[in-house]
């Protein structure tokens, strides 16, 4: 059941309506049942995996607390808990990739392949809820939060449907605490409901009007990139940036909005990353729930920046390679992670040189043009990396980039070629106008530190309504849905 499906349009209002009227003490049970129904709508068998992960972390956390004064048992429980959770993830997500890699190596060495074959269906959202569960367990281990004794509430924390399959990856200190107090939530708060609804509307706009429209062009070009010159390839590269950003942002916004309508506050996952001035800032603003998870549970335990510059850079690279692997079981994702790790290391290494050079050349770094240049360069670097993320294989990614430099065709901008990539002039105009709207909202987010809901609710009511009605009408009219249209899955579902 995707957010942009008819099923969800029925499911969500029913869940919310019941949630608002049932007795307070039944809320957690109702949300748990709804969340499992939501998750099982993809494949009922998936429930076994999420249930297993839930029971393991639930039991281990209680045992951890019970034996808090016995470090040996604590470590044993921790290893058992984390390994079993990562083990499930490894089997379902990485086993096939590992075997393929080993077979490839054996073949390169002239040896016979292993002969193993695993063809398991990747359960949606497994990386998200596994990390959320592990994060909870580590929090209990560190004594940051008490182990949850109520299985229903804990199970709801792991499976809370708005953020279950594509995040944000919530922290126990935030979401579990709210779930513990679910019976105290005042559901009839018009301002909060309006705020949640605005986030959902904006999310649907990003998904259905921008992401799925950009996907048409991106899919066409990436599927047949050898037929295109640099103009189309660059366009598709930036198109994929728009697609993946709007797709993922939209999911996070719809999740936040849906949760907010029910009285829960989820963490913000994106904070105008496309306006970041450098890659370091970019990664502070992109997929915040994952980057902070890696920071808190991997980077800092590895020593962070406390053990010298060399170790810091190695730690950074480890985190980004793991992040790439988390995104998907393929070398393309790992290379994507590696490139981004390299960006951060280079950013760190060259910071002084860059500022000294700018000073020597008397470049005014306090003006718009310098900021603009930095934003553009940051986005170009991001696009360069995500080509590996999107391409079918590493070789395809490399060839794609090679063609950008080897096959210049600037005339494609003028001879109508860009309108033959799957989007007509009208469709392209809609995409461009929508991207301008996105840019305006991002500027508000970046400069005023306000999300669209908060900003709109501070405006005069006529303007607020005008914007909301225009967004809803745009979704209805220009949204990519309906007969003959195969709604694109949210990109991050596969992670």
């Amino acid at each position: 059941m995707q957010f942009n499906s008819t099923s969800f349009m029925i499911f969500f209002p029913v869940v919310v309506a019941a949630y608002f009227v049932i007795p307070r003490k039944c809320r957690a049970v109702w949300l748990l049942v709804s969340s499992y129904y939501f998750y099982m709508s993809w494949n009922a068998k998936y429930a076994v995996l999420i249930g297993t992960s839930t029971l393991i972390t639930y039991g281990c956390a209680i045992l951890l607390e019970k034996y808090s004064d016995r470090s040996g048992i604590k470590k044993l429980i921790s290893v058992l808990c984390i390994c079993s959770n990562l083990g499930i993830l490894a089997v379902f997500k990485y086993a096939s990739f590992a075997i393929r890699t080993v077979d490839g190596l054996l073949e390169a060495l002239g040896q016979a392949p292993t002969g193993f074959g695993i063809d398991l269906l990747l359960p949606v959202g497994i990386s998200f809820y596994t990390f959320q569960a592990i994060g909870y367990f580590i929090d209990v281990y560190r004594g940051d939060i008490a182990a949850e004794k109520n299985l229903i509430k804990y199970a709801l924390f792991v499976s809370f449907f708005p953020q279950l399959v594509a995040g944000p990856i919530e922290r126990s200190k935030s979401l579990l605490t709210q779930i513990r107090d679910v019976s105290k939530i005042n559901v009839w708060d018009a301002g909060r409901i309006a705020s949640g609804a605005i986030l959902m509307v904006w999310g649907f706009f990003l998904k259905m009007v921008i992401a799925d429209r950009a996907a048409i062009l991106v899919n066409n070009v990436f599927a047949d990139y050898r037929m295109y010159g640099s103009t189309e390839l660059i366009l598709a590269g930036f198109g994929f940036e728009a697609q993946v950003y709007c797709d993922f942002l939209s999911y996070s916004l719809i999740a936040m909005g849906a949760a907010r309508i029910m009285g829960f506050v989820l963490m913000e996952n994106f904070n105008a990353p496309i306006l970041a001035r450098d890659t370091k800032e970019f990664w502070r603003r992109w997929h915040i729930s994952l980057t902070t998870w890696f920071r808190d549970y991997v980077y800092i335990p590895l020593g962070g920046s406390r053990k010298g510059m060399g170790r810091k850079r190695i730690n950074l690279m480890i985190v980004f390679l793991l992040s790439g692997l988390w995104h998907g079981a393929s070398w393309g994702y790992i290379i994507w992670g590696g490139i981004n790790g390299l960006y951060l290391i280079l950013n760190d290494m060259t910071q002084k040189i860059r500022s000294d050079t700018a000073e020597k050349l008397k470049i005014n770094t306090g003006c718009f043009s310098w900021t603009f240049l930095k934003v553009i360069v940051t986005n170009i670097l991001f696009v360069f990396a995500i080509i590996f993320y999107r391409a079918v294989s590493v070789v395809d990614g490399a060839n794609y980039i090679k063609r950008i430099f080897a096959n210049p065709d600037p005339w494609a901008l003028f001879d109508g070629t860009v309108y033959e990539l799957g989007l007509s002039r009208t469709e392209m105009s809609i995409l461009i106008v929508s991207l301008v709207v996105l840019l305006l909202v991002e500027l508000i987010r970046y400069n005023k530190d306000m999300m669209i809901d908060k900003w709109l609710l501070t405006q005069n009511v006529w303007f607020e309504w005008l914007v909301i009605i225009a967004l809803i009408a745009a979704i209805f009219v220009f949204g990519e849905y309906g007969f003959g249209f195969d709604a694109q899955q949210f990109v991050y579902f596969q992670f």
């Binding site: 469709e427 309504w465 909301i468 009605i469 809803i472 009408a473 209805f476 009219v477 309906g482 007969f483």
Partner: protein
Amino acid sequence: MKRTVIRITIFILLLAAVLLYCNSILFPKYGDGIYDLKKFYELEDNTVDVLFLGNSRCFENFSTGTLWDEYGIAAFDLGGSNQPPWNTYHYLKEALKTQHPKLIVMEASNTKQYEDYSAQQYIVKNNFGLKWSRNKVDSLLASIRKEARFTYIPEWLRYHYRYTDVEKADFVKDQGNPLYRDWKGFACNFMTYPTEGKDLSGITEVGYLSEKSEWYYNHIIELAQQEGIPIEIVIAPYSDCYEDEMKAFNRTRQIAEEKGVPFMNCVLMTEEMGLDYSVDMADPVHLNYRGSSKFSSFIGRHISENYDIPDRRGEAGYESWQRHADYIRRMISDQKLRECTDVGEYLDIISSESFDGYEVFLSIENAEGDYGQVAKNVLDGFDAGSVETAGVWHIRNGKVVWGAAGDDRDHYQDLPFSSIHLKKADEDDEEGNRIIADNRDCKVRDGFINIVIYDNVTASVEDSVAIIPGEAGQVILERKEEQTVQSAVTGGE
């Protein structure tokens, strides 16, 4: 709390208004299955005396204009392209909600439909125009395969993507087409498809109809009979009728006779109605404006001789039928003008004072020598004065309204649904004179006499000709190929 409820209510109302407006723009407006229902719903209750049902061979063959002009019959063609019998059944049920006609005529060639489900465009055309009711739901369920139902309901899923095709017609009343103002469903076809008929009179074998078609055909007849309305089954004439189809029509006849319903297979009656397939067909299965006039004249006579149908001409409440018939006649006049190939005859028609309701735009270039004499004769016809070598004129009712003189080279004329710009070229203008209608240059040939005819009734440029030198010192009329036929109705099979 009260304030919040009021705010939410106002917001929802505003949102609904915007979405409904978007829907009205994007809703498909095909003339061959949706728009006829819209116009049918606009009729005063119980004003239709004869209701014609069926597929395109209903609405392209039964000329409601001819039936009115010759017999004063207030008829309506209610059909859709490739309409199968199940949709005809539900159209009839829908019609009977507001009308109680004195006669129902079903053009029953659709009974030979063997597929139980139509292609998606015909499902749209034959269902989406119905107002939401139990009848519409039943019609949709009968039309759509079970597994595909939720791809048509809500209907919006099928047409919201029309934003790429939106045009002026989607925003203005009756699509900006005066035909639709008083339309009675008849789509006059101006194509000509010369062909020959076949002698199928010897086919007496009875074929079969599909179970679904037969079931609905039976129920159409029974529904009319239950309502106490006479029903007659007609197969309209067409040239490309095959033996198997004739056998199927024999089964259609058999069922009609079993139920005591009159049946006419007009494929076998072309001589009686004076049809000539070499000039009367628009395509292999539809009559053109000549053929439909002859056929409707025949049907009208048959109806007036066999049924008690009042002559409504001059009767209050039926003015729209008169306007509709006037309009059909006007379209036919325009077509005859487009078919005129004799320069003298053409000039006589358009320079006549009786050429009423038209705007004539004339451009003359390079009028020298013999050709200059031709140009002079043209201008004399309009009493436009002397001619040098070039000029542009706007003529109405045979009189010059405006002519380029000196520096006054441009003339703008706002007309119903169009804007015209006449421009006399100066020495540096290589493109020559221009007659521009709605940003399109209507001249046929540069460097000669060009005439553009705009009809204020149909609100469109109906003809553009160039008078060019022919053989042996003669002059001939030249037209752009696509201008010889004007389509009357959007859509079509």
